[in-house]
Symmetry: C2
Subunit: 320 residues, 2 copies
């Protein structure tokens, strides 16, 4: 199956469950909790849970469906809280929760999804031993995501972020939830420790590659394609891998922390290309993607393993 | 053993574990997470976990110590988030987390403790089956606490809260966490469904009694004893059981939504006493306490069962 087709079919399956539980909720708090969840999204993390379960034990994805939804709930709770902290007003084409309601309601709406994530995971079809393992892993992962967001915010006040610090931040902010999605899919269907570790490494490294590609897209993609403000990272002085590598080469991007015209952006791209920064950053993403795909080597070949590999390739090849 | 002595000894045991994990943490985020946790507190919820475990299976409290701490982490996370929503500046004698750091850090600090609560519970010494049960219960409870806080905030914009609505709010905001503390203590040591339900009912009803007593204390206790601003509920027009019963009797407290002198407060107390409101509210608290204590009837007599009963009595007899 083509990845895009698989993701479409899977998003429909996941959405059915999400709508069953959150489609018709009553009261401000639960409507606020459901708001972003019902605004769509690719449901990539649930897809990873289902694929990982099937890659380890063919035909088990129905059993872990509630766990797959639990990972989407976790992701969505972090988005709701992040949007408050970052003061963002729109997400997935809708106004953010704290904008439609207010900050107290948005804090609680995130907290409700946080609770539901653990509840949904605890009722997946799996052995109790596997569920305890998965629940512990989800707890550990949530704490790490908080660290990632905290690091990300602290970088806004700094100009000397190192590459190691950047990689720690994206691993925690983005990587560990993909790692946990893959590993939990495996854990719940009885994967061996070696398989669980392989799935976790696949997820972590794919997630890091995803984030580096995101940084490239911000600079290189057209505003029409992304729906986002182009080169916003450079304008805001964000400590991305592009900015860090540029700084290492003595390329000063600080003069570009201002409104940027299309020709300003072309000039920046030209200078970064000349210094080899864009190729280098692409190479780092590619290297992470290779590490991710190689980690899957210990799993038997299957359509699902191939689709996980396709997800990694999609992460680094997507244009927006 | 006397309750006060038991609580002192237990708080020391719980504090040792809390200090081991949170006493020497590094970085803003983890220090913010530890701030309120290290500011002390009676550790009542952990004590309830330990007593409930011992009441069902003598000598098992060491096994459930990390679960006991998990319930304190849960309580503390709700306090950190509530303080942001309510704009409170001090708690347990220290400045609140969002005051010392900032709101984004406080949101994340609460989120970290939330994650750690599930992590700690998942590593308690108990069967996997019991832990899955306990983790599911904690998830369900956290969602209910959010509902309770949401109801509480919504009451601020209303003047027509009914007694049933008030009781639902205090059950969710305060009762369910005592219910879960008691029930989880039982679940982890293999209590029967009947015992688990009895412990849960004890906790819910004791928690409701606690909250009603809190409302009475706000009006009746001296400011010196409580360290709080006396009659603040009436000044702020809070929908407490006192206010609801007064309204039902045609007693209008709205003129007292202003700065209140000591003689104003004496006047309010006089009018509420005359109308029988204070006695009625005391009777409701007493009734809940009796339901709580009766629920324990199915447990074999033990020192720990007696101490749970003593906690209920303490909840409704304490003066601050």
């Amino acid at each position: 199956m083509e990845l895009t087709q698989y993701l479409d079919v899977t998003a429909d399956r996941v959405d059915k469950v999400i709508y069953r539980y959150f489609g018709d909720v009553f009261g401000d708090l639960f409507q606020a909790s459901a708001h972003l969840l019902l605004a769509g999204g690719k449901r990539l993390r649930p897809a990873v849970v289902l694929l990982s379960a099937d890659a380890v034990k063919k035909g088990s994805s129905d059993d872990v469906m509630l766990a797959a939804v639990a990972l989407e709930l976790t992701h969505t709770f972090t988005l709701i809280h992040d949007d408050i902290m970052d003061g963002d007003t729109s997400r997935r084409g809708v106004a953010t929760v704290h904008t439609v309601w207010d900050e107290p309601t948005a804090i609680l709406a995130g907290d409700v999804l946080y609770a539901k994530a653990f509840e949904f995971l605890s009722v997946a079809e799996a052995s109790d031993r596997a569920k305890v393992h998965a629940l512990r892993m989800l707890g550990k992962t949530c704490a790490e995501i908080c660290e990632g967001q905290s690091l990300d915010m602290s970088f806004e006040r700094r100009d000397d972020v190192t590459e190691a610090e950047y990689l720690e931040m994206v691993q925690k902010k983005t990587g560990v939830l993909y790692g946990a999605s893959a590993a939990i899919g495996g854990v719940l269907v009885g994967a061996s420790p070696v398989e669980i570790d392989a799935l976790y490494q696949w997820g972590i490294n794919s997630g890091i590659a995803f984030q580096i590609q995101d940084d490239l897209i911000d600079l290189l993609a057209s505003a029409e394609a992304t729906g986002k403000d182009r080169a916003s990272d450079i304008r805001e002085g964000k400590q991305t891998l592009l900015a860090i590598r540029a700084r290492e080469k003595g390329l000063d991007l600080t003069p570009y922390r201002r409104e940027l015209s299309a020709s300003d952006i072309d000039e920046i791209i030209g200078r970064l290309n000349e210094a080899g920064v864009i190729d280098e950053v692409r190479a780092v993403a590619l290297e992470r993607a290779n590490v991710a795909k190689q980690a899957l080597g210990i799993l038997p070949d299957s359509e699902e393993k191939q689709l996980l590999t396709d997800i990694t390739d999609y992460f680094i090849n997507r244009g927006f």
